[in-house]
């Protein structure tokens, strides 16, 4: 029996490929399996090859699998594009409708199953997906009754007949495939899972839930791949706490509206991807200069320009750290898992208010859109810290002098009062200003205010919880692998394989990318014989940041992938061996 299984369904976009994967994985999630999904799709609604690869395991899995056990094909292209991933024991099940052709150079099993025909006989060809799910169950030896609850949930509102028909489609697919396979245990049968209820969500869900738990009341956003799910979730949930989402006319409006709302005293944010972030840069500068809290989520996708809108990349890093003209204090946090996406988003709102700075929550497409099993989220870890927010009790001043909103303080953070509060009147401007917010071009004031702003975040690397995730057991490693965001899963798996070959590997994943936690990572770099920075971009952006902060330009090498697809463990294993 396999401990884990990799399953992929593919076909033309708009044919229900996504829902096939959804139903399959929902049922497995309920049985207590750990899942890790990755969708390959195009920037179009109908047509074009799409596939959904889902890894199923009895243990936590955090990366796209190297190979494939079962390929469900609704067209020949799915077979042609994906069959090389199948290992020798793998199985292709293909719809008879398109007269599938088995590739000559594969040892994988091949079964043509009348998905469409059976579905049509049951009433509608739309149910071909259900037939395919049933056939899969026969291969992995899964009792189809587990699908009943899921099918009821999805089709229940369409009536009992629809539920019954869909269940029948699953059963028929199961039976047909069982007959084909004959007696005996399938080598792809899954061992039973623990039956635990676990969350199954995309990274964007976790980020949106984090925003809600952080007390957000207004999200201002413009739709974009792969960020839109964050606004879509909050459109449903914010009204329950009296708030709302405003779909703005563009990303500039989204960022500036969020700034206005934060200035007005609430927690507000926006989320976008590279093109939207480019438009927001001036607003981010305003947030930095006026010390108005702002949280922006950047779900990275393939750039530059429109780039690869539906593909994985991590090429916004430099833009997020350095973007906006002039110099501002800014914080960039890069969660690596959905769990971290939740906690880090909560923390982003706290940091934004405590330090009165813009905070970028950096994600990437694989994390944002991949649907994963998520460990229980601990609400007791959610705290709401609003820093030096002043809402009442300001001593009255007879002379109408302004409140010192930008008072020069030791830690650089000044008391922040919001409109409506008596005695708190001050001015806010993106022009250089004095302690009351009034414009000032005095050199002494400029220096005092610039220093004050910049020193606010100096201590953050020492305060931020776990700025570097470390899996580092070796005092002297042969290789230190460093990454950020979603590559961590593939790195960990690569590490296990390298270790099994006797290579000592440490792993460090940067969670606080700016201000950079140099002191935290430096000992690992110093003690490693080789260092490789794994990232989905062409120029080694994180490697540059590390070299700039920690030194060791000769020792630090890059493992890069920028073809639009995520790292699989074998990529990292192979590249690592070349470096050692």
């Amino acid at each position: 029996m396999a401990e884990q299984l990799s399953w992929k369904v593919g076909g033309q976009q708009g044919e229900g490929i996504e829902s096939t994967g959804e139903i399959f994985s929902m049922a497995l999630n309920r049985l207590g399996y750990y899942l890790y999904g990755y969708r390959h799709f195009s920037s179009r609604i109908k047509g074009g090859h799409t596939n959904n690869k889902i890894r199923v395991s009895t243990k936590k899995v955090s990366s796209v699998a190297d190979d494939l056990d079962i390929l469900v094909a609704f067209d020949q292209e799915t077979i042609d594009v994906n069959y090389r991933e199948l290992h020798a024991n793998g199985i292709i099940i293909a719809d008879t409708k398109f007269k599938p052709v088995k590739p000559e150079d594969t040892e994988a099993g091949f079964y043509a199953v009348p998905f469409t025909e059976m579905a049509t006989e049951l009433g509608t060809s739309l149910m071909k997906n259900m037939v395919a799910v049933g056939a899969t169950c026969a291969i992995i030896d899964l009792d189809v009754s587990v699908f009943l609850g899921v099918v009821e949930e999805i089709f229940g509102r369409k009536g009992e007949t629809v539920v019954q028909k869909n269940m029948e489609a699953i059963q028929q697919g199961y039976k047909y495939m069982k007959d084909q396979l004959g007696d005996g245990t399938s080598s792809l049968a899954l061992p039973p899972a623990d039956g635990q209820k676990r969350m199954f969500m995309i990274g964007n869900d976790a980020i949106a839930l984090g925003a809600l738990a952080a007390g957000v009341r207004l999200m201002a956003a413009y739709p974009i791949t792969p960020a839109s799910e964050i606004m879509e979730y909050l459109i449903k949930k914010l009204p329950k706490v009296g708030g709302t989402v405003i779909q703005t006319e563009d990303e500039i409006a989204a960022a500036t509206m969020a700034i206005g709302a934060n200035y007005g005293g609430i927690r507000s944010f926006t989320a976008s991807a590279g093109p939207g972030l480019s438009l927001m840069m001036e607003a981010i500068g305003l947030s930095g200069m006026t010390e108005t809290p702002l949280v922006v989520v950047d779900t990275q996708r393939g750039g530059p320009s429109t780039g690869l809108p539906t593909k994985q990349e991590q090429s916004d890093l430099m833009a997020m750290i350095y973007g906006t003209h002039g110099e501002i204090p800014k914080v960039v946090i890069a969660p690596g898992t959905a769990e971290e996406g939740f906690y880090d988003t909560v923390e982003a709102f706290n940091i934004a208010e405590e330090y009165q700075v813009p905070v970028i929550v950096l994600s990437d497409l694989q994390l944002s859109l991949g649907k994963h099993t998520v460990e229980p989220l601990d609400y007791s870890q959610v705290s709401i810290r609003r820093g030096k927010l002043v809402k009442e009790g300001i001593e009255p001043r007879e002379d109408k002098s302004y409140f010192k909103r930008y008072e020069v303080t030791e830690d650089g953070v000044s008391p922040r009062v919001v409109p409506g509060v008596t005695g708190g009147i001050h001015h806010v401007t993106g022009v250089e200003h004095d302690e009351t917010g009034k414009p000032s071009e005095s050199p002494a004031n400029r220096k005092a205010q610039m220093d004050k702003r910049m020193r606010k975040i100096e201590a953050l690397p020492h305060v931020f919880p776990n700025p570097v995730y470390k899996n580092a057991t070796h005092e002297e490693a042969d290789l230190l692998l460093i990454g950020f965001n979603s590559t961590g899963g593939a790195i960990e798996e690569a590490m296990e394989r390298l270790e099994s070959e006797g290579i000592k590997v440490n792993h460090a994943r940067i969670r606080l990318v700016h201000p950079f936690p140099t002191e935290d990572i430096l000992p690992l770099i110093e003690s490693a014989k080789r260092v490789a920075v794994v990232e989905n971009n062409a120029t080694g952006q994180l490697a540059s940041i590390i070299k700039m902060n920690a030194g060791y330009p000769q020792k630090i090498k890059s493992i890069l992938k920028y073809d639009g697809n995520p790292f699989q463990p074998h990529h990292i294993v192979e590249s690592s061996k070349e470096l050692i």
């Binding site: 969500m201 009204p239 009147i425």
Partner: protein, 293 residues
Amino acid sequence: MATATTATFKDFRNSVKPNWCPGCGDFSVQAAIQRAAANVGLTPEKLAVISGIGCSGRISGYINSYGLHGIHGRALPIAQGVKMANKDLTVIASGGDGDGFAIGMGHTIHAMRRNIDLTYIVMDNQIYGLTKGQTSPRSAAGFKTKSTPLGAIEQTLSPMQLAVTTGATFVAQSFSTDLKDLTAIIEAGINHKGFSIINVFSPCVTYNKVNTYDWFKENLTKLSTIEGYDPSDRQAAMNTLMQHNDLVTGIIYQDTERPSYQELVEGYAETPLADADLDLGEETFKQLVEEFM
């Protein structure tokens, strides 16, 4: 602590000396806002003036109230965010014609469609002043500036016609020297439940030698002098604007029926969001988590 419940226009004055040129129309706009704020019963703490960039954008720093001087063209989205955060505040957005009708035009149109309850005051001098005299979307055809030395060849934009067609619920125009009328219009704009746009002809004495105080006095028609003018008649509003080449002052159009954005938002809190307790509560969180299981 005691909170002042009434204020006079003097309470809205601060000690900052505006950096506008002597004779600039913006001085009167500043005075009108201060008077209108006092007349509608505001105290300085309850007013937020959000402004853009340009000569007129400095206005938020010259009024004793909460004020935010943002980035070029974005006063409106910032102001809308402020109002969404605290519905008890009176929010005035302001800026020049370049700010609102060139770089910020997209926001102007959508703010009118959205109808969040705030008042937008444009100081329209038909030129770029702070950058020392370039053409604006409001400049007349043939108008010679540093950027149009042979005369502007683009069509002049009509913000008032645009406002009427875009669905703005309060559309008014005024002239900076008519302090009494301007003050009354700003009061009406503040009292209007929804988005109000007030375009104020505010002459630039330094760079616009065509659209001068005298020119406006000669060419403007007060809507109050047009017999039977009914600002609730949208068609008449358009006709009047076209007949007078937009050179009218007064309330051009007002729709008192349409609810403001905040009244239409599902579930929007009745008390200011800024006062909300941010803790979601463990029970609610648990329910949200279970939806993903």
